[in-house]
């Protein structure tokens, strides 16, 4: 096995973005931060996809994370960005743990559709809950960092720096996890689950663990998105949001933990550019690029970097 270069690459990307981020225009900072938030969600989906599961309801945890962060600020006035993210992550992880008992029994299309159903339940609930703003959602209080609020010109950069740091840690941990026996079980489950059971490993347990990790990551991403965008609404749990995440997952590929963030960034750029050029047909551009990726790059964008097959 060749030397593991992923942690070093990750560190270099982090440093580069931290240094050059200061000089980038404000709107790119926003774009990158949102991409990082989505990248976190997609990182979780990637873990699931590695064992062949596609969750069409990951927006559920994204939305839970965002609402947990938003409500914490609303009810208790908490505004520390790390507290909010931890809250989002914990809430989503907890729900994921409970639902995992049910969902870990399902495979292929049924897993996807059941997770879709669950996320739509949350959407239906939120739309009809007037205390939480119904379809309009509500504004999230501006967040602070260790009790301080950076100067206006630096807000975007600070949020980006925090997001980068969080994404870096998450990516590193997931990378480590993928190397553990439990993480390495994923491709085996995808290939042939019955043989996994014969080997003495529990596929259901492995999937449950992965599901909780994915949920927690999605919650983290949701909380990050909530603090970045400053507004949350039930649309975050709608099935089109889940579709967007899956889109990015397929676009990125499952080759490496860097891929989801790269995919999310490319997605953000495609979306922004397509929207700028032709506001009425940006979905068409997205759909078209998804088709192109599925047909020509079945292993996602990441396969451009590594031609050879990865574990």
């Amino acid at each position: 096995m060749s030397r593991d270069r992923t942690p070093r690459t990750l560190g270099l990307i982090l440093l580069a973005l931290l240094v050059f981020g200061q000089f980038l225009p404000q709107w790119t900072l926003f774009l990158v931060t949102v991409a990082l938030a989505k990248g976190l969600v997609v990182l979780g989906l990637m873990i699931l996809l590695r064992c062949g599961l596609v969750s069409f309801g990951q927006a559920l945890y994204y939305c839970i994370g965002a609402y947990a962060a938003g409500m914490l600020g609303r009810l208790f006035g908490a505004s520390d960005v790390f507290t909010l993210m931890l809250a989002g992550m914990a809430a989503a992880g907890l729900v994921g743990f409970v639902l995992g008992f049910l969902l870990a029994r399902y495979r292929s299309i049924f897993f996807g559709l059941l997770s879709l159903a669950v996320s739509m339940i949350l959407y239906g609930l939120l739309v009809k809950t007037e205390a939480l703003g119904s379809t309009d959602g509500f504004h999230v209080l501006p967040s602070t960092l260790f009790g301080l609020r950076p100067a206006d010109a630096w807000v975007r950069y600070t949020v980006l720096a925090v997001a980068l740091l969080v994404a870096f840690i998450a990516a590193l941990l997931v990378h480590r996890y993928l190397g553990t026996p439990l993480g390495r079980l994923a491709p085996a489950i995808k290939d042939n689950e019955i043989r996994v059971e014969y080997m003495g490993a529990s596929a259901r347990h492995a999937i449950h663990v992965k599901y909780v990790i994915a949920a927690a990551l999605a919650g983290l991403g949701g909380a990050l998105a909530a603090t970045t965008v400053g507004h949350i609404d039930p649309e975050m749990a709608y099935w089109t949001t889940s579709g967007e995440f899956i889109f990015i997952t397929i676009l990125a590929g499952t080759g490496n933990v860097i891929a989801p963030f790269l995919g999310a960034l490319v997605f953000g750029v495609i979306q922004t550019v397509a929207f700028g050029i032709s506001p009425n047909t940006w979905q068409m551009v997205l759909g078209g690029s998804l088709l192109v990726v599925i047909v020509f790059l079945p292993n996602g964008l990441w396969s451009l970097f590594r031609g050879r097959k990865l574990a």
């Binding site: 049910l102 959407y123 899956i246 068409m284």
Partner: protein
Amino acid sequence: MKIVNVTHGSFYALGAYAAASITGALLAKGMPPSLSYAVLLGSALLVSVIVAPLIERGILRFMYAKDEVVILLITYALFLILEDVIKLIWGVNPYFIAEPYGLLGSFDVLELTYPYYNLILVGVAIACGAGLAWMLGSTRTGKLLVAVIHDTEVSRAMGINVDRMYLYTFTFGSLLAAIGGAFTAPTVSVVPALGVEVIVLSFAVVVIGGLGSLPGAALGAVMVGLVRSAAIHYLPQAELFVIYLVMAMVLAFRPRGLFSIAEARKI
């Protein structure tokens, strides 16, 4: 065909848009309103016969070898594209055609007013369902199709033209979606979000019934309809999520839906 087809929502929307614009145009030219029902059917036929083969022959047929989930994603991509095609052709403003609906008037059941048009909807739905059941069970094409779905390779070895069967099936399925859209068009305002909403609902229906089961789909549709109406009547806040609650409950206890078809385990 073992395809979970998101594009179905687009065909529903396409049918609705085509029906609304064609019927509207013809009525403006002085067509007697009583003919509009035939026009509704005709416009559904028109869009599905043009668009469905294009999609099936142009894109989908190269994808059948891929995983079920990947095919779902491909149809999702096509759905995104078609959404914008619809917006390009018809714009974003809503369309109304109330004539077929208003023409028939309504009657009273006890204290409730019930429009006659809804009876037509029920009739069309039953006719489509019965026609489909008859076609699958009693005609040569239908039986061949069942065989193809069960085992593509053996069917091909037996001399069935599998490609053509796929084309027919996809077109016919899309036609049904377009008919659904066309006949619903007079009762609603036709807006771009039509396809997005209907597709998750129909997923709920088929999953409750069991994927690939005709009686299951019929039962699922009735269940979803009743549950939704009951929710609107008794507890309006619950309207949206109650459907998905039913879907989740059914899946929790019958993981493959109510009328699931047994599948062999491959080791």
